[in-house]
Subunit: 456 residues, 2 copies
């Protein structure tokens, strides 16, 4: 660090630092989700932040390719770039000559590569979860970042609907543990197909389902409504009537009566196991991820907050095909942790104790009391109680500020009297109460209550 | 995903996937370290994977600049690149025109930026820890990766030696909790300075200390020994004699007697608090990180394995200067988690139970017994016991293989008899013992023992 050029500290747009209290809250969300994943037998994996560009490109459409962060090759990277394209400043043609790696765009394509690559080392059905950052060169905006976390659980290599049932249970359990009021809507891709066929819509299925999928943002009727837009796809008034009747006027039981047995059986089986969960709801209008999903689909939204999807997922059939893997069906769900954070913050759902860093701070007046405090601290730490002594000589109010700022709930004040008597001043920072206690009595007060059997 | 091009799955060189059992072991290391950091009042922060190149370049020397992974700008990135340099294929001149971001190279420069940028939001002394991947475009090799984790704890804004003492305690406690036999060597940069002055070596201090730092790899005497190399720096035989006497023949107490009071006081104070720890050792030959450190320095090595440093650190004074921050002293330690993993693997130090994913697997023979198993499973999960039912209809031996592969310790077999009697076959997979038990009896067997007061 010979020549230090002073620069103003700042971050690339669309990225964030996390303060200690933010990390504590994010960890609370991650830990809650992980504990449920593990309870259901899912195991954590990890993959590198960057993949070969060959692995990533073509998987997310043209838009996705454009949003991939590409890493410049090391060394003399221009050496083999063609002169003509350089001269033409043809950025898109040059990229493949100067970049071989890209930051991962999601956790699904890496999973696909991983499953094929490590096939012989994995236990199938492979129940894995993966939590980590992904990167997209998207225009940053409110709630939209270039670096954000994804949090996925998938089962690979099993077509059993038990997986669909358990993933629904996981959704229900996680949001309930987080204290969030949500609706978990589910539907089946096959149901959607038959649904349109029954309405006589066979030609422009994709277009029509994409439109129905927008129903929570756009009204059905009106000049720019979904109905008009569907009609613009050549759907007749009669077909549209059938469609709207099915969408809005028909009960679950009535709907089922009109569908083929195989399709109804799938939904019935899943709903028979999860239908009793208060926040789970069959929703025939849920279309989600058309090109990708082939069976059950999920979407989760908060009930009392204006906010997009907090999670989604579905069953897919071609996960490993692109890497030459044998045909394996997969089904998975995803938690939108960034939005979960925002909702919990807005509704004040984080436990207040999260921010507590240590249980107690020892403060002191001089070298002798600092040394005495340090010795007492060792006894507290020997009980595995998180604790601190203020490092260095500062005025008492500065030391108390430190406790306040770090939300440390108790302070032990050590002065001459305390050292002489062995009775230390133990102060409760939330109500100001002070007691004179021995260090053993203090330890008793600080010890955590015995863990309840439900505790993590 | 219209056109799927099949490609062979592979990773960029120098990067790794992690299998579930590897993630479990890595988490064990991270969790152990985190629990100790938290016990001592350190709080976790996070920063983005990439930083502005301006933040990173010039901080790690020329070699470091070369090893930074640079991210290609989005869009038409060649637009403003100068023609002449493109035509000359001058890679190094072009880089700054086509790349503004780089992957972080360590966690220290991001800390430095973070502290200045968030100064008003942080509590000082700022005790933070940070665990995360960093990236270096290094030539990959055995134990050397392009993506690897760093794990740092630092105190910013306090010159108190209590921090040095506590960081030494943290080292001692973490390695002891991991069951690792290590030596934690410490020294003081000021001691080193005076040490050389006393030997009459004032001119080429940096060169000589760098040589002494190699003492654990290169012999002192011999044709290519350190002594000869020191002499080549213009050090006289007499000076060399004084130096070698101090290095090899003088006890700690004798050494202290010859040094200035201020320097001795620092070491004495720290050693008086940590000298009783079995694995802590004052080592006057430890030179570590010359350009950077200004006070105490640490280095940790394993005792019975051929392996480099497992951790190191020290006090530094100019952390925030490069970002225009007010003068703040810092002191920190780092854990070499990748090497810790390798040593623990080699010495078989990971607890066997780590690999256990779930406690019990329910297996079944047909649809009816699967449904029955699913209902029993709900009772087990209601007790927060991690458990699974095999999803789908497979032969019993396939289902048992699943339990074996996932190291699930117990299996419950459900067949017609079990459903009729309510007495389920409970099999211990490690010794093969089978019992007929009700689901309530099974739950009692599976319940974890009450946590000991020392348990995490």
């Amino acid at each position: 660090m010979a020549e230090i050029k002073k620069i103003k500290p700042s971050l690339p747009k669309g990225t964030r630092d996390f303060l200690p209290q933010e990390v504590a809250k994010r960890n609370y969300i991650f830990d809650t989700i992980k504990s449920v994943f593990r309870k259901y037998g899912f195991q954590q994996i990890d993959t590198p932040a960057f993949e070969r560009l060959e692995t990533l490109t073509g998987k997310y459409g043209e838009e996705g390719d454009r949003l991939l962060f590409k890493i410049l090759n090391s060394g003399d990277y221009l050496k083999d770039a063609p002169y003509a394209e350089l001269q033409a400043k043809n950025s898109s043609a040059i990229t493949r000559h100067i970049s071989e790696k890209g930051l991962r765009y999601d956790l699904t394509v890496p999973l696909s590569r991983y499953v094929v690559q490590h096939q012989s080392e994995l236990t199938f059905p492979f129940k894995r979860f993966h939590i980590g950052p992904v990167w997209r060169a998207d225009r940053p905006g409110k709630g939209r970042y270039q670096e954000f976390y994804q949090c996925d659980a998938d089962v690979i290599g099993s077509t059993s609907l038990l997986n669909e049932i358990e993933l629904t249970q996981i959704y229900s359990e996680v949001y309930s543990k987080l204290g969030m009021d949500v609706t978990i809507r589910l539907n089946n891709r096959k149901f959607i197909d038959e649904f349109l066929t029954r309405a006589g819509i066979t030609d422009k299925k994709t277009e029509v389902t994409t439109l129905i999928d927008k129903l929570d943002k756009v009204e059905w009727s009106g000049e720019k409504g979904i109905a008009e837009q569907i009609k613009a796809n050549g759907v007749s008034d009669e077909q549209l009537g059938l469609l709207s009747k099915t969408l809005f006027d028909t009960s679950y039981d009535e709907l089922k009566a009109t569908f083929s047995e195989a399709v109804v059986a799938e939904i019935d089986y899943v709903m028979s196991r999860v239908g009793h969960l208060a926040n789970v709801q069959f929703d025939p209008t849920l279309m989600r991820g058309l090109d990708y999903y082939t069976g059950m689909v999920w979407e989760v939204k908060p009930n009392n907050v204006q906010m997009g999807s907090l999670g989604g997922g579905g069953r897919y059939d071609n996960l490993t095909e692109m890497f030459g893997g044998r045909d394996m069906s997969g089904v998975g769900i995803s938690f939108g942790v960034e939005r979960i954070y925002d909702v919990m913050e807005e509704l004040n759902l984080f436990p207040a104790t999260l921010i507590e860093s240590t249980k107690v701070l020892f403060v002191h007046f001089d070298e002798a009391s600092e040394a005495y405090a340090f010795d007492q601290l060792q006894k507290v730490r020997a009980q595995d109680i998180a604790s601190e002594v203020y490092p260095g000589k500062k005025k008492l109010d500065k030391q108390m500020n430190y406790a306040n700022d770090k939300k440390i709930p108790y302070v032990v004040v050590i002065g001459g009297d305390e050292m002489a008597s062995g009775k230390l001043t133990f102060k409760n920072m939330s109500n100001g109460q002070q007691d004179k206690l021995t260090i053993d009595e203090i330890i008793e007060r600080l010890k955590p209550l015995p863990a309840s059997p439900k505790g993590r």
